[in-house]
Symmetry: C3
Subunit: 316 residues, 3 copies
């Protein structure tokens, strides 16, 4: 899509040399054929370094835009992200594309492989499963009944995904205007599940807004777990039932979240940290190998001590 | 159904003029052709004003029943509500009723439209979806794979409902006798989802016991969210993943519930209130536009201050 | 399978008389044709009483093994449990086995009854439902659309299971080695749901690792509830939305868990205890009929008093 066409959709005058734009991305990740945006003043300092071919910016930030990047000056860049995201959204299902099923795989006749879906060898795709267009499943993987994998995702080999789980649903993203109305930001990324991952029942792992949500090798996820868009769950990490990650949080390897524990968005958790059931994580953790509990979060032994102190209030 | 027939089902003697009863409802909402009940003494004062045609009452409250309303005197009115609710429950699926699919809509051959289901124009009903009898879907709405909408519900236009979500499942209602046994109260209401609503994966929105559970225009609901029977979620409100509402709670417009936040039943929350992740709301909130946190709930800034005070206990 | 074959799979030398082993079980439950194991030193004292035909033990515990039980000496017994569990795992679906549907039952053509599935009389098996091999459904039971019941489970009569719920998914079990890698422990038990049980939408009830997870007569379970492997939910107990039980916890009769409440694993809760919303239960409760709240858990009235004391900290 031409940048001039995007400008037209946004109802703004386009000046300068036109260029082809193939998608959107963040300031740090965007490449020359992508459109970026500045929605939060704290990222303003990243503008001069961006490699994006174009950027949605408010007037006051145009001076920072490098010469390789064409500014589209708008009043509310995030609202414009929502508008543009729809332009790049693929169809729900492709109309063409070969369906490939590897040797030894069993695909139940009540399962659906959309156009362009690819299933490896010796897989078991059970009744009621849906595999979207351009999604690839590795070898020896089991999708239990009624699992849904949205389009463009990748599931590794030797994975087990249990019934009624959804991989690649839309991340929870929208812009809000001053009247409080929302506009959906289309989630044009995907989910990548690496090898040897097991995922329980009724889990929701959202696709990335740009790029990938990633579940790394050997991860075990229990039932009813939520993983937001653009998260990364490190190798051999464990998420117990009803735990959750808000968007863009990254767990290192062998992190354990107990039942109903949850982390806020945009955090980084160092490897081998363990969180007791119902921990509430709101800050990044740089040290490895500690055990935590509570909300607000404390080291587990401190939390226990604190609960003792709190109990003593009853005697006052 | 005749009131005398209902009395017979309850095993009580019926006296007076018979009348036709078409359903049940609360004291405040019941009309002349409906049966009401008094199950909680705190509603006793509403009896004289009821427009219900008949009422299940304990003996001691019969004096309060207005002359337009026939009392059915019973020992345990709520248990009787359970018995009678079953009499008014429709079949799981109708045996007749035209299935209507509007122009431009795509209904996957692995989806099910029960008798009497109506789908508007340009919708996308994907594989494994179930749309119940007498349920209506507006225009341009997408139901992702394996979404289930129970019978008699209404989904608006321009809605997106993600995979494995259930709309219109039975509310959690039952009567309990002195032996601790339960009897299901059939949930004969429905769910109404207005236009421009997006609902995530594996969400559960229960149908009303009487009347409607209502999700108003422009609401955004994340994954794994629970909405109990007879709730109302106001325009442009937002419910983040794993949050929940118990029955009959009403959120005003632009209310935000953070992840894992929850509200007890029968509350009213004024517009533009925001609740941090894991807030526990147990009282109605009349003021608009505040930010809250914690359980018990405090204003967010107070909660932060309180956590500071609690942390100081460690030094005592 | 012969014990010598199991030893071979584990790469250990087998000595002594060979015997036929038909499965695995705990020290207390194992019978003469079963293999047991010791994975936690606190169970070492149970070794002398075991009736197991063989046991996976570390070298230092071999002296305790009774003469009826053949020791398989291994370095990491729990890792070996994982390896052996796979040997006893049945296929996802049987290739033979009569499908039985009782008189008066309606099975939607879009439902799947795997080989060996048995449905009683007057049931309603709706579209998209999956009933696994060797699973039995009683009479008058309703499975709403897209319910999945894994193989080898039993569902009673007069049950209602709502849409998108999964019964019998694998319990969350794996062994972890010193490198932090996990190996799945196959869950070869089942789930037994007794009569008159109602289960909401998107609930996950895991099958037992050995034996049965059991939901007893008259239980009511709300939406999005998690029940771990080997739990037992007592007669007429109630679990409100988003509550959860970790593995092997047993609730007595008429226990009530409020919304988002949860219990840790391996607990026993006496009958008629009630837990307020978001209670966190970490210890067994021997007294009946009390009301609890909070995390850490207090008696409800004490918790209320404590919250008052905590609030006073704001004034200090």
């Amino acid at each position: 899509m031409l940048l001039s066409e995007i400008a037209k959709e946004l109802g703004i005058t386009f000046e300068g040399e036109d260029k082809k734009i193939t998608g959107m991305n963040t300031l740090q990740e965007a490449e020359q054929n992508q459109l970026s945006f500045i929605s939060n003043p704290k990222y303003t300092k990243q503008i001069p370094q961006t490699k994006a071919g174009a950027i949605l910016v408010p007037k006051e930030a145009t001076e920072l835009v490098p010469s390789t990047c064409t500014p589209l000056v708008v009043e509310d860049p995030y609202w414009c992200v929502a508008i543009v995201s729809k332009l790049f959204a693929p169809p729900l299902e492709d109309e063409t594309g070969e369906v490939v099923v590897g040797e030894g795989s069993v695909v139940d006749e009540k399962a659906t492989l959309a156009k362009g879906a690819k299933v490896g060898k010796n897989c078991h795709i059970m009744a009621g499963v849906y595999v979207g267009s351009n999604t690839e499943i590795g070898d020896n993987t089991i999708l239990y009944p009624n699992v849904v994998v949205y389009r463009d995702c990748k599931i590794g080999s030797n994975c087990i995904i249990h019934a009624n789980t959804t991989i690649g649903g839309d991340g929870f993203g929208f812009a809000t205007n001053k009247q409080g109305e929302h506009k959906k930001i289309y989630q044009n990324g995907n989910v990548v599940v690496e090898d040897d991952v097991e995922i329980g029942n009724s889990v929701a792992i959202d696709r990335a807004v740009f790029g990938s949500t990633r579940i790394k090798k050997g991860v075990h996820i229990d039932n009813l777990v939520q993983i937001g868009h653009n998260c990364e769950v490190g190798e051999f990490s464990v998420m117990v039932s009803q735990s959750g990650l808000a968007g863009s949080t990254k767990l290192g390897r062998n992190v354990v979240l107990g039942g109903q524990a949850a982390a806020a968005g945009h955090l980084e958790i160092a490897p081998f940290n363990q969180f007791a059931a119902r921990s509430g994580i709101t800050k990044s953790i740089k040290q490895s190998g500690k055990t935590w509990a509570g909300f607000p979060l404390y080291e587990h032994k401190t939390w226990l001590k604190l609960q003792g102190k709190i109990a003593k209030l009853l005697k006052q």
